[in-house]
Subunit: 424 residues, 2 copies
């Protein structure tokens, strides 16, 4: 039934049905978590072999480097090479770090904030710093800007990436606009991949700020769901031609390849930015956990090995995505209660509910024992102007639980939509 055209009596009857269904859901006493993009136990179990690649003292060396000892700010060479091949950049452009690219992004932002870009003013000394935030986007990105008191400007996500007309205009006209967050491949939460044209425009656009920075969070670079894959233009290739390579800071990690909490993060950047990073970072750190880096290199061998390994993740994730998508289709298709699309990779399904319904759906789900990412979290300041977007993270629960959770979600989405229509 299409809720937009249904008459009041039908909506009222539907509401009664849905309330009964909702109570039945509640009675099951579920306790399910779809709030974060966490790998499942089965995914984490895939890497068991990594635990034993280092088992003897003589294993701990990378060439002459004893990975157990101090030093090596940029990470061990073989690990940097593995990331370099994955990101398609020269190894000199790569630093391998600790267990989180989020921390590398935060620390990089902090360096810009406190010390400024090479030849730039510290951003904390600027009267105002504005930041472009394609939305829906990743809540943890936005929180970094918010903590520093930047003014976040929401840029709508179109099908091929951020609204580049808006991005170009703001970047070109306002010198206080210092940068942009991008998750260019299988974006969080929508699973969209930037088009070549979008990548080109980001790399080559005019910026009023000489120290404009693109935080290119390539978190899902090899995180396909099947052989039907998106491909992303290498932004550094374009930037090098345009002479804008200092604008780009690229990040990735093995958090969703090996272990979410015990993986290795990496940053790729131009030689000038790497030198700048090391110069400031050498006061903060002596070196990353090189032993864990070596563990990764010995287990995966190279970027090709990572690619192969990711197929095992896809085999575990694809059925979960398919199940949620099919539940959405069968329960909500044609109702007008919401729209969604089918990602080819990444960790999320983005759901756009009937406007004004997201918070209500979130609350209803919670009441029925299903925890979702907070409504609004995908927008700057946690405020979704339409109160519409919800992020579904299907990775963590086993597939049976996920089915129960998806049923709850569909029931709540429909119920909220019916209520909204009845209010009208």
């Amino acid at each position: 039934m299409n809720l937009m055209t249904a008459d009041r009596a039908s909506l009222e009857a539907m509401r009664q049905d849905l309330l009964a269904k909702f109570e039945a859901c509640k009675a099951k006493g579920l306790k399910l978590d779809m709030s974060r993009g966490k790998p499942s136990k089965a995914q984490l179990d895939l890497c068991e072999g990594m635990l034993t690649v280092l088992s003897k003292n003589e294993d701990m060396f990378e060439g002459k480097t004893d990975t157990r000892n101090y030093g090596g700010l940029e990470g061990i060479l073989s690990c940097r090479q593995m990331f370099a091949d994955m990101l398609e950049v020269p190894v000199e452009w790569v630093m391998a770090g600790g267990n989180a690219s989020l921390t590398m992004m935060y620390d990089t932002m902090m360096r810009l904030w406190v010390f400024g870009a090479p030849n730039g003013t510290p951003w904390c000394k600027e009267e105002k710093v504005k930041w472009l935030c394609p939305a829906p986007g990743y809540d943890r990105h936005f929180t970094i800007c918010q903590q520093l008191g930047m003014e976040m400007i929401t840029v709508p996500m179109l099908d091929d990436g951020p609204d580049m007309d808006m991005v170009e205009k703001l970047a070109a006209e306002d010198a206080s606009v210092k940068g942009i967050w991008c998750v260019p491949k299988y974006s969080n939460p929508e699973g969209k991949t930037y088009s070549d044209e979008t990548v080109r425009r980001i790399a080559t656009m005019k910026t009023a700020a000489a120290d404009f920075r693109v935080f290119w969070d390539n978190a899902y670079i090899v995180h396909h769901l099947s052989d039907d894959q998106d491909s992303l233009l290498n932004i550094f290739e374009v930037a090098k031609e345009a002479g804008t390579e200092d604008r780009i800071l690229e990040f990735c990690s093995t958090s969703k390849i090996s272990y979410a909490g015990a993986g290795v993060g990496a940053m790729a950047a131009s030689p000038a930015n790497i030198e700048w990073t090391k110069k400031i970072m050498t006061v903060q750190a002596i070196g990353p956990d090189k032993t864990n880096q070596l563990r990764h290199v010995l287990y995966f061998k190279d970027a090709k090995g990572i690619e192969e390994h990711m197929k095992k993740h896809a085999d575990l994730l694809k059925p979960k995505f398919d199940m949620v998508l099919s539940m959405l289709e069968s329960n909500l298709g044609g109702t007008g209660a919401g729209t969604w699309h089918t990602p080819k990779g990444g960790y999320f399904i983005s759901f756009d509910a009937m406007p004004g319904c997201a918070k209500r759906i979130h609350a209803l789900c919670k009441e029925a024992g299903v925890v979702m990412t907070g409504a609004g979290a995908t927008f700057p300041y946690g405020k979704d102007p339409q109160d519409s977007n919800l992020r579904i993270a299907p990775s963590l629960p086993p597939v049976e639980e996920l089915e129960a959770a998806a049923e709850v979600f569909c029931t709540c989405a429909l119920l909220a939509a019916v209520e909204k229509r009845l209010e009208a």
Copy 2:
């Protein structure tokens, strides 16, 4: 021969002897490194068993916590408990972090700098921030202050810790004095341990700044060289009585217990400071490498296990310290070329050369293939007013190499002193 009383002819003859000896040293083509407090391969080898405590998927849990997944900003409970027992504080006061307490100190300083202490102004907004630096001290501490543009005030180290009359006066009278660096046990580089009285005075002194912070870097807390050990008063006990516990931030790590580059760092602080840390840190990180923390807990079991393990380090380190000290005594004793003392723990022997000789000794050693920590490094801004202090780090080289290095050092120290006397 006492150089201070020797006549010119004797000095001249001695110089010729020493120059010949120096050339003989050079001819050996040594390449030895005594610059940093790095554990030796033999020390790192002690922990081989830690590599295999996690070898199966089912090993990866701490209770219900899957250490491989995201989360747990404060570290896993059992690891925090191990540090809590070591530091003699409640487990709620402890956060276990990544591979470096240096990074935890830097990040804490950065939080104070950018966001301010609880209820405080961000230090970056203050007109001036001054910091008390007991010296000789740890160069990496000083570099943090220098990077942020703080004004470092050198406080002389006495036998029982920093000159507390000076510390108390500066802290009480000047509100821009925001804190002090302390390595209270087996201090870097002198190996001195603060007396109970010094600890009490630091914990209870009046401070003009309400947000004064003591960075209590307890880096060598269990790093004894034998059973003849120093003991340090628990500063939190005193501070709690005085109601000043928010002033203290304590740091330590397993860098010189397990692996220098792949250990676990920890911070102990009052509940108010822990809450403040987590509130800011949650934007920077999702959680530390809990898997490596679990590895440590399973291997060492508890604080007692660490204590036992440290005896093996002592067995390796003590002969090296003894050898260097005996070389110093036999070559330099009674000459007036320098003074030193005999630490009961830590990683260094601090050598006070005849004033005006440290840089020269450093250069001579380098010429003969022995790399020492830079002269002056143990003082703020790298400037030793007396050009006298040198830090000897005996841990890294095998004992035979160390003997060669110590011979070079003694030769250079004597030569520099003789030269200095001949200038007079």
